[in-house]
Structures are given as structure tokens and as C-alpha cells.
Amino acid sequence: MTGTWPGRVLPVVAVLAVLAAAWQAAALAVANPRLLPTPGRVVEQAWAQRDVLAQHTTATLGVTAAGFAVSVAVAWALALLVDQVPALGRGLVPVLVASQTVPVVAVAPLVVLWFGFGLAPKVLVVTLVTFFPLVVGLVEGLRAAGPSATALLASMGASRWQELRWVRLPGALPRFFTALRIAVTYAVVGAVFAEYVGAVQGLGTYMNMQRAAFRTDLVLAAVGLCALVSVTLYAATWALERLVVPWAHPRAVRRG
């Protein structure tokens, strides 16, 4: 990252301020808080409901974490399989791509129908919407080392496993983390959607209930919390990436 701390934060604050001002102006023009509450009212009502909101947010975070963990595990397994058994990869990759064309909107209610209102259907939906970028990032990452690195390791007498361990796995990490950052934002959306379709708690459920009660302000408050959770998780993966693969962000410029 370049720039100083205020240099990075100020533009974000400015954009948010402009958006909030536009919202405020629109809300005053509409003059109907049930239709479009002002930002101030949303914040105020969110604060009043903070205990309930915190409870639902925790539930959503749990679903997201569980689903994302399963997704990462599945992605590693599939990517290694595709990488190590090329024939299987040729058969599997088209199926994986096709799986992404299935509309989650249509499948999520079925998943709830099949697996009930517990954790399982939500974890499944989160996995469905997040594993694909992870698999693609990992497969490409595992190939990133290239044939000359393979030749070098082979010339040293390395086994396939040694090549994987010494060169290809670490080489795959930068792309894995890029994919992780993209996928983690989908994960929150996936969890909220699964809750929306059918659950007893979580931000998705909460939005559904408040929408039915015409509490637009509380729906928007929940939306804001979703965004906050996504941004936080994104920042967390970013920090994890700096910690695990510091070498992917060179400190010095390579000379001559």
C-alpha cells in the first residue's frame, strides 16, 4: 500500500459524507420516514435496537465463518485434486464452472427445504457462493511456479511431493489470498441470503421481519451492519495476507 494513513482514510470519509448528504437531501424531499428514513434516524434506531442487532449479527458471523471454513477446505481439496490428477481436473473443471451458473436464488430455498432451518443449509449456501473463486485462484496459483521451476527441482532429484511442498504450495499462496479476499465478501452476502430464505436468527432473518413490519429504518440498519461485517472481514484477510506472505509485497525495488 502506498500513502500515509490520513491520505488513505480521508478520501473514504469524503465519499461517505457526500453519499450521506445526498441521502439526507432525498429523505427530506420524500418526507416519509416509512418510505425513506434519514441517515440520522437509521443510526438512532439501530442504537436503540443494539442488543437485538448484536445478537443477529453474531449469528450471521457464525454462519459466515462456518460456511467459509468449509469452503476453504473444499477449495484446497478440489484444487489439489485438479492439480495432481490432470485427467480428473479436465472432467471436474467444467462441472465447477457450470455450478456457478446455477442461480442461488432458486437453489437456496430448496437447500433449506432439504436440510431444514439449522446450520447445515446456510453453510452449504455460503460454500456454494464462495468456493469457486477460491478453487480458481488456487489452481492457477499451483501452476504459477511454471515448468522451469519444475525442471530445477527435478534436476535436484526432488519428488513430486517435495516440489509441491517447497515450490508450488508457497507459490500458490499470493493468488490464494487474492481469491480469499474476493470470496470473503461473497460469504457475508451468501449467509444473509440463506437466512433471508429461512432461518430463526441472523441479519437476513431480521431484515425479513423488519421489512414485513415496514421498519425501513431497521432494514437499512441491518444492511449497514452487513456492509460493516464484509469490510471488516476483508480487512482481516488483508492483514492475514501481510502476515503470511510478506514476500508477495516486495519491500525493495529490484535493480539491474
Binding site: S148, A149, A151, L152, L153, A154, S155, M156, G157, A158, Q162, W166, V167, P170, G171, L173, V245, W247, A248, P250, R251, A252, R254, R255, G256
Partner: protein, 313 residues
Amino acid sequence: MADVLRVHDVHVTRPGARGALPVLGGVDLRVARGELVAVVGPSGCGKSTLLAVVAGLLRPDRGRVLVDGGEVTGPGRVALMPQDDLLLAWHTVLDNVGLGLRVQGVRRREARARARDVLDELGLAASADARPDELSGGMRQRVALARTVLQGRDVVLLDEPFGALDALTRLDAQRWLAATWAAHRWSGLLVTHDVGEAVTLADRVVRLSGRPAAVAQEVVVDDPRPRTPGVPDQRLTRTVLAGLGVGPGGADVPDTPDERASVAVPDEPASGSVRGGRGPAVPDEPASGSVRGGRGPAVPDEPARAGAGREGG
């Protein structure tokens, strides 16, 4: 002196777009202990294939490779220094240098100790704890050589070791390699495009013909050491260049007595504009490998390729 490496009548055919393509057509080579033999040849003549065979990565269709009298049937007998340095970005220089030992099953602590020793010997101790991205291109190649020799093999294969360096860095790296090699007397093959580099570094220069490659010429470099990188022995250089179809009678190489730059074997027709002319131009593309422009003779491409391609094939 006994030969530490013998390449005996090696034939390799590789599948091509239009059927089988003979790449090596009976290559014979020998490297005595402590000898550095340079292999030059027209671009695409099969130098890399030859290295792959010697490294045990590719089985020849016919012929044998012997290291220390034992036949090479797979990798692990010789150490390869590839064209790109291929240093692993996630390891320090120390761990990169020790990689070959780790692959051989040496424990990390011992691999590090031995890597530190070899870095000391080669004058690279100050870089031991740096990460590869903190090093210059010239330093990365030196570290790659340290990684290669630490594997403790009988033969070292250098595949265009300085091909990616700019002209000045390249001369510096050659000077360093010459001094280091003189001190350690490893045995090896040096594949290069640069006849000047071959003549200043090697004990013998072997020129391969175009495809299918065979040894077309062998020149013993009797130029006494120390030699000056960048100022190759003109008589030997011309002999090899003439064989490649470049030089008096072959193409337009200026006959000025004070030719100073090393003369590059032309690479790709596309890269072939004559640079620098005869003026004191500074080479402008660091990545373009061989020494161009400068004060010396720029080598025109087309006639050279035509001549080299026909001969001995």
C-alpha cells in the same frame, strides 16, 4: 585427466507440429575434471535439450551420458543452474542456497550452516539474510550459482547464466565467475549465445550445428588466464564466429583492430536491428542479454542465421 562427463552419441527426437523432429543427431562431448566447456550454437539448435539430457531430465533415444563413469539414468547426478535464477521469493538467500540440500534430505540447521559457508567462500555472506527481491539481477545470478554448487554434484550445468543481465552487469558477473571458477575448479558445461563470453570463460568451446545438432567444431581456448571479460581473444572468437557463419567471408563483421565488445551470436531475427553502430552508444535495453552496440561490431542477423542454419545439419 579423467573425464568427469562423457556424452556419447546422443540422439533425441521430439514431437513437433509436423511429426517427429530430430533435435540432437549424435552429440559427443567430454568434460575433464576441473574443466569448463562452453557450448555455443545457433538459436534453437538444441542446447537446452542437450542440458536436459545431461541433467537426467530427458532420456535420449540413443546414446549415453556418463558422469564419473556411471551412466545417467535420472536426475540427481549433476547440478543445473537454469536461465532464470528461479530464487524462491519466500525464502531468504540462505534458504534458497540450501534448497538442493533440503531436497536431498539434509536437516534445515545443517543446510543453513553449509549454505552460509558457501556464501562466505563466494564472497556473498553479506546477502545471506536478504530476500531475493532485495537483490540486483547480478547478485541473484551469483546466489543461483551458490545454490548450484552447494548441491555437491560432480558436474555443474550453466544454462545462459548471464543472459538476462544488462551489458555492464554481465561483464561484472563474468569477471566474478572467472575468478570463482579459477579458485574452485568445478567441472561443467556452459551454454551461451555469446561467443565472447564462451572464449573468456571456458577452457574449450564446442560449437553445435543447426538441427539436428551435432558437434561441428571444437576450439581449445589457449588464451592464458587471467583473461579480461569483454575483451575476448580475437583470433579464437573469429574462429568460432566463422564457424557460425559470421565473420570474414561469412558476413559483414568490421575488421577494425581494436574491437572491444564481445560479439554476440544473433538471437532472433525480430530483435535484429543493428544497434549503436560504431559510436560509443550505451546499450539501452538491459534485458536484451548479449552485449550490443558499444564500440564494437554489431552483428547483422540474417546472413548469420542463414549460414549457421545450413551448416553441418
